[in-house]
């Protein structure tokens, strides 16, 4: 049981456990009205007409693309060559490009009435040809490095639907393949699924007295303020974005959505009236960003000793109907191509990635961005290589892992891996799983009969806390490397932290309070952390890319250290002591070697804020420090997952017997929270590997539009994970490595690897659903019920 008597009680817990959380959907304001979006039932169609007469008669306000102010569009910008910029209107204009796209917005006094009125909106559509797949439909083969498909374009600007194409290249791939002892080839397809936070998207917008206030479940309030200003025709300074308690994000809420823009435009058109939108689950499945709809055609070359000498191939990422704001259609393909080779040493690499538009919901960030798919692809190549060479899959990996002697290791895509602790993680994972015992049981069942057991492995590097250099790849018109943090001592001696990051469950109120309490020298209970409000917090990019502990933690530490220095300097003058002899412990000022405190922080703070008569020469009033931090590069976190699964020949069902995950999280600030992050991300990874799949039919209708069809794992499907750590401090103020996403990276690879281990057959398509596994077992001729 993971309880830690020394762990501080999370600052978030009491309000969340007593029903006093403050979520956007809880917000009630005077004169508030409620919004329902009318969504397209067609995947691709021209909008012939929108008749709103019945809706207006029902007492509703209606907005369409014709409404004043709605002529603007979201446009995700990037200077990357090979990127085609496209527009996404707040409400569909002329055309709809996916089933679920918002065509009109209806405002009424409550949500029941708004939904009634929305049914009165009559839209006449002229259907167009629909493109669902990013590769198979009408696609010709890859010829001469180029790839073409003939389609009805989703956007006129991209006649072949390719919104982004880029080739990563290093070394001499073809020569290495020619010289190789073996070259293995895999064609793999991964399954579209999404973050599905239990709180869907929600927003309340109010335009009053020339100022727009937007309460939103966003992970990126300052970016939203910046991006939305021009679009709503206001100065950025006239906009306040507030992200209060948010019920899960996972990347899905790190996006500026057309609904967000529409809501702000509606508010601007209705001054003084707050407008509120809370999506339901069906809307979320239909229209929030999804991810991981990829195809891989890859080859890996090995020498006779098992050394990986080349990887080459092609990737297709289905980016859906629009280029997601602000990360662009490149978010998945660039991450996929940039990090495919993971923790393995490699000189020769050539991979062409494509982001292909289709008539499906837009693809965007989801915890792990692309890497749950690329780790699966890479580990499949290694398992095939081991089979071709007759080597043990773990031995083959050990030969190729980046080691301590190799770091800093420059990957073939020029990212620099700074960890190298993969072997150590693998050792610990083998110990925890008791690999020898599982192998013995596997052999016994093979001899004596019984359900097959397979052992699966995944090794990965999680790029976290990306600084300005590491975040430069997508060439967007901003760099997300820095965060601001203000640490202030109030006149009563209590400490307030204003951080630029946000939290959707990660416990940042607690973790940052621990960091600051420790650095300043006050009690944890005397520190309050605030974030998510652009009017309170100086600057921040928010929550994504496992950056909060590294960057916001770093900024908090720098600010707190400086503040402590200021406090001690002032105390030395006030109490006529030598600053070098002074210590600040638990809010008390102490002199080294003396049993009693000579003063306390509240007294120093009172002097600083209220009693300028006590301030010595050279001291300004106020105890308040703001610092920025940018790690410039980033911190890689090593991770290994090892699991034993059992296959049911009758049903194709998979039972997880044991699942071990060992990561290098760097220095751990709060073990309970880190454990929770790892376990939670593992569960999401297992969901994506085994159950979750957003399926479209050939007309572009989502056929998994409820949680009865889209299977999110429950407590009955998820096992107890055994989580271990190696703590190797990273080179940043706290020595931490991000830990939020790693768990999602392994499960698909682990499951495929375990099936390969159990049956000797390759799982080329995800999820590992019972029907697919059952078919593989037939192919492997594993007996079951007839």
């Amino acid at each position: 049981m993971m309880t830690d008597a020394t762990a501080p009680t999370r600052k978030e817990d009491h309000r969340l456990l007593t029903g006093r959380g403050r979520f956007v959907s809880d917000l009630q304001l005077p004169r508030m009205r409620h919004v329902t979006f009318v969504r397209s039932p067609m995947a691709h169609a021209e909008i012939v007409s929108v008749d709103v007469a019945g809706t207006v008669a029902a007492g509703a306000e209606v907005f369409t693309s014709e409404s004043p102010g709605f002529e603007v569009a979201l446009r995700a910008l990037s200077a990357l060559p090979g990127y085609v910029e496209t527009d996404q209107p707040p409400l569909a204009r002329d055309k709809v490009r996916f089933a679920g796209e918002a065509v009109a917005a209806v405002v009424h006094d409550d949500r029941y009435l708004a939904e009634d009125a929305a049914e009165q909106v009559i839209v006449d559509y002229q259907p167009l040809d629909v493109t669902i797949g990013a590769w198979h439909q009408n696609a010709t083969a890859v010829t001469n490095g180029a790839w073409h498909q003939t389609v009805t374009p989703v956007h006129d600007a991209a006649p072949d639907n390719v919104l982004l194409q880029r080739t990563f290249e290093a070394g001499d791939v073809d020569a290495a393949c020619d010289a190789a002892a073996v070259v293995v080839r895999r064609e793999l397809v991964t399954n579209r699924h999404g973050g599905n936070p239990i709180e869907g998207r929600a927003g309340v917008a109010l335009f009053d007295d020339g100022k727009l206030t937007f309460w939103s479940g966003t992970q990126i309030p300052h970016l939203v303020r910046n991006l939305i200003a021009d679009l709503v025709g206001l100065a950025e300074s006239s906009i306040r974005v507030i992200a209060p308690d948010v019920g899960g994000g996972f990347g899905v809420k790190a996006v500026l959505y057309p609904e967000d823009l529409a809501l702000c435009l509606m508010a601007k058109a209705m001054p003084g009236t707050p407008v509120k939108w809370v999506e339901d689950r069906s809307e979320h499945l239909l229209s929030a960003c999804a991810s991981r709809d990829h195809r891989y055609e890859l080859e890996a070359a090995f020498d006779a000793d098992g050394r990986l000498t080349a990887v080459r191939g092609d990737m297709w990422c289905n980016v859906g109907a629009y280029s997601v704001m602000p990360w662009t259609a490149g978010i998945e393909p660039l991450m996929a191509g940039g990090l495919l080779t993971g923790p393995y040493k490699l000189d020769n690499y050539r991979c062409t990635v494509r982001g292909v538009a289709t008539n499906t919901a837009p693809a965007g960030p989801y915890r792990g961005v692309a890497r749950p798919a690329t780790v699966y692809a890479m580990e499949c190549l290694l398992d095939s290589g081991a089979a071709a060479l007759g080597m043990d899959p773990l031995d083959l990996r050990r030969i190729n892992l980046i080691g301590l002697d190799d770091v800093p290791y420059r990957m073939p895509t020029r990212l620099v891996d700074d960890t190298g602790h993969y072997d150590e993680c693998l050792d610990e994972a083998e110990r925890r799983l008791d690999l020898a015992a599982v192998r013995e049981e596997q052999a016994r069942r093979r001899r004596e009969g019984g359900r097959p057991i397979g052992i699966g492995v995944a090794i990965y590097n999680e790029l976290t806390g990306l600084g300005r250099a590491a975040s430069a790849g997508p060439r967007m018109p901003f760099r997300t490397g820095h965060e601001a943090c203000t640490v202030r001592v109030n006149p009563d001696g209590k400490v307030v932290v204003l951080s630029g990051v946000t939290s959707q469950g990660q416990g940042l109120e607690t973790t940052l309070a621990q960091v600051v309490a420790d650095a300043v020298g006050v009690g944890y209970e005397d520190v309050e952390v605030r974030y998510g409000d652009t009017d309170q917090v100086l600057w921040g990019f928010g929550a994504f890319s496992s950056r909060q502990a590294v960057i916001a933690g770093g900024a908090a530490r720098l600010a707190a250290d400086e503040l402590r220095g200021n406090i001690v300097a002032l105390a030395a003058e006030l109490y006529e002591a030598n600053a070098h002899d002074l210590d600040l412990i638990d809010g008390e000022i102490r002199v080294a070697g003396s049993p009693d405190p000579i003063g306390n922080l509240a007294d120093v703070a009172r002097a600083s804020w209220l009693e300028s008569n006590r301030l010595p020469a050279g001291f300004e009033p106020g105890l308040d420090v703001t610092r920025f931090y940018d790690p410039v590069m980033g911190a890689f976190a090593a991770g290994v997952q090892l699991a034993a699964i059992e296959l049911d020949p009758a049903t194709g069902g998979i039972e997880i017997l044991e699942w071990v995950c060992v990561e290098d999280a760097g220095r751990i600030i709060n073990p309970q929270i880190v454990h929770g992050q790892v376990v939670g991300s593992l569960a999401q990874g297992v969901g994506g590997a085994l159950y979750e799949h957003l399926v479209y039919d050939e007309l572009g209708n989502l056929s998994t539009g409820t949680l009865l069809d889209y299977l999110m794992p429950t407590a009955a499907e998820i096992p107890d994970f055994d989580v271990g750590h190696v703590e190797q401090p990273a080179d940043n103020p706290l020595g931490v490595r991000g830990v939020g996403e790693g768990g999602t990276l392994g499960p698909a690879a682990v499951i495929a690897s375990a099936i390969h281990d159990a049956l000797g057959v390759e799982l080329d398509e995800l999820p590992a659903s019972p029907d697919r596994v059952w078919s593989l077992m037939r192919r492997a001729e594993v007996g079951g019920s007839p």
Partner: protein, 162 residues
């Protein structure tokens, strides 16, 4: 519209509801009890679970008018007025059984029912982790991976049986 009286957290509240108003919406919108959360609005995720006469019920699938004459307990009704947490709430905090907290009210109320039922049926045998996982499988959590929640229920049972 009809006038109804609902007994919520030990207090009788008068309100006017449309026949189609769900219990969840009445609790949230009319009584300001926003601790009851809506995660799917089609009865799968369990976030909106409340206790109706002690039994867990999805308040998104029950009409407010159906809850007349019943005792309703929401998440706001568990802690003491001075803020002291119910043992199940305390166990969730101790075991890190919540992260974002959005599914938490539904899980806590489901767990309260589970723990209390088990205490009555303690002779039926121990409530092991597999049984807890099975019992909680009507609620979805996206953050915790369930391990902390199962820990919390185990702990709450232990404390309750002490």
């Amino acid at each position: 519209m009809r006038d109804v009286e609902l007994a919520v957290n030990g207090r009788v509240r008068a309100l006017r509801v449309d026949d189609r108003h769900t219990l969840a919406d009445a609790l949230r919108e009319q009584l300001g009890l926003t601790g009851t959360h809506l995660g799917c609005e089609h009865g799968v995720c369990g976030a909106c679970t409340v206790l109706v006469d002690g039994e867990p019920v999805r308040s998104c699938l029950m009409f407010a008018a159906q809850a007349v004459d019943a005792e309703i307990t929401t998440i706001e009704g568990l802690a003491q007025p001075d803020g002291t947490l119910h043992p199940v709430q305390q166990a969730f905090s101790d075991c890190h059984g919540l992260q974002c907290g959005f599914c938490t009210p539904g899980f806590v109320l489901t767990a309260v029912h589970l723990v209390e039922t088990h205490v009555v049926d303690a002779a039926a045998g121990p409530l092991d982790r597999d049984a807890i996982r099975h019992e909680l499988s009507g609620n979805i959590c996206r953050c915790t991976g369930y391990q902390g929640i199962v820990d919390a229920v185990e702990r709450a049972v232990e404390i309750r049986l002490r």
